[in-house]
């Protein structure tokens, strides 16, 4: 259902057409992503779905992080005119972390535990740009300041276990932004954080994405959060896109899955006992 796909604002950064990700298992092939299509300009796109909907595998396929045993195919998967499926692993590596970056869910697992935060940020920068050590340090400190870390010089020398989850996620954002990517994929960037910290991190991400004119893919299970943060929302179910719509028009969502997902969450001030539950129809996955 691509009924309300819009004309792309300010040129297309990423084009995905009929993306498929297939995993071999003992019982045969499992298609985690089954023909996903969308395009992205310099805007914020949300991908929403429940566990197993293929939302993370979609993000990973764009990033080039699909496990080696799985197979990725697409009619088109291009980033700024570059065909991501035909370039060499070396070229892909040059893009990764440089022009396309990814923020993962839990800083506890996605940061290197035996390396200081500063060194990890400097490493990212020096992998992609020729800069002196002193300059790299300067830029890393500046980046830490940009993610609103109050005492960047102190945090620079800390190990990931010495900082809180919110701080770790800010460091992760700093690391991902330092090479100045044009496309950022954020896979559940705030799900591991407390609600109050969640908003701080989202505010930082929001400001930096707007300032730098990046394209953002925000992957999340939280439809309400995504719609308050993104310009457009893609809703996935069982590896397929069931609906694409403007975040502002979420209330007019037509697909029963989208509507059900919106409806089933308890909300403060809206008493409903029992809560409406999703009545999953087999044809949604067809």
């Amino acid at each position: 259902m691509n009924g309300n796909r819009d004309a792309q604002p300010k040129g297309t950064l990423l084009e995905v057409d009929d993306l498929r990700v297939t995993f071999p298992t003992r019982t045969g092939l499992v298609q985690a992503v089954r023909g996903v299509s969308f395009s992205l300009g310099r805007e914020r796109l949300g991908i929403v779905g429940e566990s197993g909907s293929g939302k993370s595998q979609t993000g990973r396929a764009i990033m080039g992080l699909t496990p080696p045993q799985a197979e990725v195919s697409a009619k088109k998967l291009s980033f700024d005119g570059i065909d991501l499926l035909s370039i060499s692993p070396r070229q892909r590596r040059a893009l990764r972390g440089n022009r396309i970056a990814m923020i993962l869910q839990d800083p506890k697992y996605s940061l290197d535990p035996v390396m200081t935060i500063g060194r990890q940020i400097v490493e990212t920068l020096r992998t992609h740009e020729k800069v002196s050590k002193a300059e790299a340090r300067e830029r890393a400190l500046e980046m830490l300041r940009a993610v609103q870390i109050r005492d960047p010089a102190r945090v620079f020398d800390l190990h990931p276990h010495e900082v809180s989850g919110g701080m770790g996620q800010r460091a992760m954002i700093a690391m991902m932004l330092i090479a100045g990517p044009e496309l950022m994929i954020a896979d559940e960037p705030t799900s591991a954080l407390d609600v109050t910290v969640q908003l701080d991190v989202l505010n930082i991400l929001d400001r930096l994405v707007a300032e730098r004119g990046m394209g953002l893919i925000f992957i999340s299970h939280d439809l309400r959060l995504v719609s308050s943060f993104c310009d457009r929302v893609v809703v996935m179910y069982a590896g397929k896109v069931v609906e694409q719509l403007k975040a502002s028009e979420l209330r007019d969502a037509r697909h029963p899955y989208t509507r059900g997902l919106l409806n089933c969450m308890p909300r403060i001030g809206f008493e409903r006992h029992p809560l409406p539950v999703l009545d999953r129809k087999p044809e949604w996955a067809a």
């Binding site: 989850g165 407390d194 908003l199 929001d206 939280d222 308050s228 089933c264 308890p266």
Partner: protein
């Protein structure tokens, strides 16, 4: 009305870290009571202290009029049951659902197991077909249903719920919350429920306590919270955060 759970000046200390700093709480019989707060606020520690899973340094806990000592007797565990957050971690991976449900019956020497297992499975909406399956053959929501069945099988009067739906998808969460409400109504249970999600707590509970850094920030009724009639800034912040992202 008597208190199902009464807690007075409870202190929990891990080495030198004070996880709970003199908390008072009273949960009435048949009531559903919520504990909210961010991670590290001590809300789960409070539940664990009641069951004897956390080291109580000082303070008194009374359950159904009986003061708890250093150890809990069997009758206590029959009366108070707990459902944990992560159904992937709280069910034994090498035991069938049947075996999992036998365990509490064996411990308490209950003879009409057959009937109880069937009834418990039926009550949580699983049916007989699930009885001889392993946890890994079930989805997250089904596992949490098994965990609830295991808690109900001893016919307790108090259920301690530690973030029972935060590991589940939104649509499955709705099903489990509905199930919990239904069993509470049917069995007239007392709930003490922990969650970081204000919306879930206001949906499930009549009264709640907001916690931060091991202390109670304030005690509210659900309708006070819904009407934003709160007095502490911390609670106000939580409320704002639960309304989602607003571009500034």
């Amino acid at each position: 009305m008597t208190a199902a759970i009464a807690i007075d000046g409870l202190e929990v200390v891990f080495d030198r870290f004070r996880a709970l700093k003199g908390v008072n709480l009273e949960v009435r019989e048949g009531e559903s009571y919520g504990l909210v707060g961010e991670s590290g606020s001590g809300k789960s520690t409070l539940l664990r202290a009641i069951t004897g899973l956390a080291p109580v340094a000082s303070g008194a806990i009374t359950v159904n009029g009986k003061a708890l000592g250093k150890t809990r007797d069997k009758a206590f565990y029959r009366d108070v049951q707990m459902v944990f957050q992560d159904p992937y971690g709280s069910l034994h991976p090498r035991q069938t659902v049947d075996r999992l449900l036998q365990e509490p019956l064996a411990i308490h020497g209950i003879s009409d197991g057959e009937k109880r297992i069937e009834r418990a499975l039926d009550e949580v909406g699983l049916g007989k077909g699930f009885r001889f399956r392993y946890a890994h053959q079930l989805s997250g929501g089904q596992r949490q249903r098994v965990a609830i069945a295991r808690a109900l099988i001893l016919e307790p009067s108090i259920l301690l719920l530690d973030e029972p739906t935060s590991a589940l998808d939104a649509s499955v969460q709705a099903e489990v919350l509905n199930l919990l409400e239904e069993v509470r109504r049917r069995r007239k249970l007392t709930f003490l429920m922990v969650s970081h999600d204000l919306a879930i707590i206001t949906h499930m509970c009549e009264r709640l306590m907001v916690m931060q850094d091991g202390e109670a920030v304030e005690t509210l009724t659900a309708s006070q919270l819904i009407g934003h009639r709160v007095s502490e800034d911390y609670t106000r912040n939580l409320l704002r955060a639960s309304e989602g992202f607003v571009r500034v």
